[in-house]
């Protein structure tokens, strides 16, 4: 692509073509196609078991797709070499429902692990050995989520909301271009969930990160998404801007 073309054409961070996934003989979804613009936040909604989490994981190559193509940040990820996949994932991150911190390590170590994609090796395994700039970057990321004062605490001594904040700091420290958020507030009570969603989207918007997220809250999809994709009956049943949708449009997807 010439430099001129890249200025005029919209940049697509994710481009999914006719993606199909089966687990054995069980079809999960078929022929799903969509594209995401840089900096867009897209909500993926659908009832339980429609394959939202599976679709998210296919985007990062964490689960191989059965057929179809996925292009992320300019790279094809069907049958990639492990090194290529790692190079791509250095610019991505995952925030999951169960926040998935390493329980017995400190908050600071957990955040520094977010840099492992860029820096492999024992110095980044624990905050005790980490280079000064890594510690500084991790502390800055923790300050952004308001938890700088808990850097030394063990991750399993945190509340649910605090753990999810740490997971967000870990996802953001590597300055990713694309973030996947799988039910980021499902394990939290409503108040903490609202806080997390607001904080997460404030930070990703500031940093221009492209986001795909799933949520069971119809309101979250409309409030935080620019666009909403709906999975139903193994197909992409909805692809519309959030502004054009109402709560009742989305409720239909859960029937």
């Amino acid at each position: 692509m010439s430099p001129h073309a890249s200025e005029t054409l919209p940049r697509h961070d994710v481009s999914v073509q006719r993606l199909t996934k089966n687990f054995g003989d069980t079809p999960i979804f078929a022929d799903v196609s969509f594209r995401l613009l840089r900096g867009e936040a897209v909500a993926l909604v659908g009832a339980n078991g429609t394959g939202k989490s599976t679709l998210l994981r296919c985007l990062l190559g964490l689960i191989p797709a059965s057929s179809g193509t996925v292009e992320v940040l300019g790279r094809r990820i069907s049958q990639p070499r492990p090194a290529d996949l790692r190079a791509l994932r250095c610019r991505t991150g995952l925030v999951a429902q169960k926040h998935n911190l390493v329980p017995r390590l400190s908050v600071l170590s957990n955040v520094i692990h977010g840099l492992l994609g860029q820096h492999s090796g024992p110095r980044y395994w624990s905050q005790s050995f980490a280079p000064a700039q890594a510690r500084a970057a991790a502390m800055e990321a923790l300050d952004q989520v308001g938890l700088g004062h808990l850097a030394g605490r063990r991750a399993d001594r945190l509340s649910g909301g605090q753990s999810q904040r740490v997971a967000i700091a870990r996802a953001l420290i590597g300055q990713p271009q694309l973030l996947i958020a799988d039910e980021p507030c499902a394990s939290l009570d409503p108040a903490a969930g609202e806080e997390i969603m607001a904080l997460f989207f404030k930070l990703v918007r500031e940093n221009g990160v492209t986001v795909v997220f799933t949520s069971h809250h119809v309101d979250h999809a409309l409030d935080y998404g620019d666009r909403v994709l709906g999975l139903a009956g193994g197909k992409l049943a909805l692809d519309a801007t959030a502004a054009s949708l109402s709560t009742s449009d989305l409720r239909g997807l859960y029937d």
């Binding site: 998935n100 329980p103 399993d156 996947i180």
Partner: protein, 269 residues
């Protein structure tokens, strides 16, 4: 009233296959007793002979110089157990990393390493001791090596199982940021498996202490030799002292290990 005939039966009628299975199980038990030389006659005549042994073994030999000699041997036994178990646990870590499925090694290496570990476990500790007595000569070093290899067979397998069983969530989160397998293993899998490792390692130590008490029977060091000599010379009081000493030490080590497990793993479970 509801019709009683619609209730489930109190006892389900077994299927033909299940019935065959029960018959087969009973046949195996009968066959095993036959081969084991089980004789009611001997069971009935043994109590007087057992009582005779006990009367000759009691009171146990508590002479100070005998106690001092046995004490030194007991200390040597514990040294063999600790040294062997520590060496074995340390060696088990890299072995387990290769044996754990889906971690850093491919399925071929997993299979080969697991089969080798299975072989090591299949050979009894006393047989390993015999082998090492031939290899490095009589004495405690042969026993230490036997304990070491026995511990590798045990811990290598169970450390690997522990790592396979940990929650995959944190590993997935790190993989999604582009971390290498080795980094993911070191940062997510190992810390999550650490409490299980401690538990397994302490159990390996208990096992090592139990094993080390009999390795002396084949000349691989420790208190076992005193037991053999006691019986060979019909010095039953001394043999009884050895048996009691072993029992006390093994029970004490088990209690200590339970306590250590609680202290180290802590409140987490």
């Amino acid at each position: 009233m509801t019709d009683i005939s619609s209730f489930p039966r109190r006892v389900e009628r077994p299927s033909a296959l299940a019935f065959l299975g029960y018959v087969l199980a009973i046949a195996i038990v009968v066959w095993a007793f036959q081969g084991a030389g089980f004789s009611l006659d001997k069971v009935l005549t043994s109590p007087p002979r057992f009582a005779d042994f006990m009367s000759r073994a009691f009171p146990p030999n508590l002479e100070p110089d005998v106690l001092a000699r046995l004490g030194r041997k007991m200390v040597e036994t514990l040294q063999i157990a600790f040294a062997g178990a520590v060496l074995g646990v340390v060696l088990s870590l890299p072995v387990a990393l290769l044996a754990a499925r889906g971690l850093i090694a491919g399925p071929w290496i997993n299979g080969i390493v697991r089969n080798i570990l299975g072989f090591i476990r299949a050979v009894p500790d006393i047989a390993w001791a015999l082998v090492f007595v031939v290899a490095v000569g009589l004495g405690p070093f042969a026993g230490t090596l036997a304990i070491m290899i026995d511990t590798v067979g045990f811990c290598g397998r169970f450390f690997a199982d522990d790592m396979e069983a940990v929650d995959k969530g944190s590993a997935e989160a790190l993989t999604a940021t582009g971390a290498r397998r080795l980094d993911v293993t070191a940062c997510a899998t190992l810390p999550a498996a650490a409490p299980a490792f401690v538990s397994t390692a302490l159990y390996a130590l208990e096992k090592a202490v139990r094993s080390s008490t009999i390795l002396g029977l084949v000349g691989a060091g420790g208190i076992g030799i005193e037991l053999k000599v006691g019986f060979d010379l019909f010095d039953y009081p001394t043999a009884m002292t050895v048996i009691l000493m072993i029992a006390v030490v093994v029970i004490a080590i088990e209690a200590l290990s339970t306590w250590a497990r609680k202290i180290i793993i802590g409140e987490q479970r």
